[in-house]
């Protein structure tokens, strides 16, 4: 009987998965070929014909490698990206915006910042809500915790912290131009 493990291992060489995942895929596909071979033998095929039948299960090994890779990693990446970046980021943005709206309605009067030109104030005027600013580190920490818990890299954790800052910073930057 052909060594299916060796065949699959050589054909799927370069399958970019974690070593134990790659070993599992190789073992599983080899077991399938093994059973296909035995099934063909039971049906009365000669050893060579049975082996040929097994080999015809895969016409393009490179394509199979690519499709296994995609199936086992791409959706993982997408799911991880959602869990590690998008979900914490959007949650921090939503919370910070929601809290800002609440503070605007129920909170203390904001601190007004304006540019001076001689004796008169010139628009735009920045309205700073101190309680809201104080809450941002907490919201950022929550985003960081969620991203970190989902296994996010340092970059993903940092990005989910600063994500709500970016639209606000852009707004102020445009305002002061």
């Amino acid at each position: 009987m052909p060594d299916w493990q060796a065949l699959v291992r050589s054909q799927l060489d370069g399958l970019a998965l974690k070593p134990h995942e790659r070993a599992e895929v190789i073992e599983e596909l080899a077991a399938h070929l093994d059973e296909t071979f035995e099934g063909a033998r039971r049906q009365g095929f000669a050893e060579q014909d049975a082996a040929q039948r097994c080999l015809s299960e895969v016409k393009d090994w490179r394509d199979l490698r690519r499709r296994i890779q995609t199936a086992r990693t791409m959706e993982n990446i997408m799911t991880n990206r959602v869990k590690q970046f998008w979900l914490p980021s959007l949650l921090t943005l939503l919370l910070s915006m929601g809290l800002l709206a609440l503070i605007q309605i129920f909170g203390p009067n904001p601190w007004m910042v304006a540019r001076h030109s001689g004796w008169s104030l010139v628009a735009p005027v920045a309205v700073v809500y101190i309680p809201w600013l104080l809450s941002l580190p907490l919201i950022g920490a929550m985003g960081a915790y969620l991203s970190n818990r989902a296994g996010g890299s340092q970059r993903a954790v940092f990005s989910s912290i600063v994500f709500p800052v970016l639209p606000i910073w852009s707004f102020f930057w445009l305002g002061f131009l």
């Binding site: 895929v25 077991a31 059973e35 296909t36 895969v58 199936a71 799911t79």
Partner: protein, 111 residues
Amino acid sequence: MIGVGIKRGTAELAVLSILEEGPLHGYEMARRIEEQTKGALRFTLAALYPMLYRMEQRRWIRGSWETSDTGRRRRRCYRLTPAGKKKLSPLRQEWSELFQALRRLKKVANA
């Protein structure tokens, strides 16, 4: 013989349906589908495993290693998850609607 495109669309339904009967490993799954469809649906290794891995990533099925009765072979058995069971019903409905629509189309064509 059913064309490749249609087969691809029905493949997930076939796998979910066959797993509804109980946990199976890849080879047995392919064998039963071929047997029950009288050869109309045949899964090669190249077609079956990328799809199983994709369905596993979507958490419709779950694979776990089991040793065969004789104890000489380790095989990965797949079983339907609650999410997979939930997916099966609307998938069946969609395909049923499609076949009904095609039957109606045939009637129109024959009229």
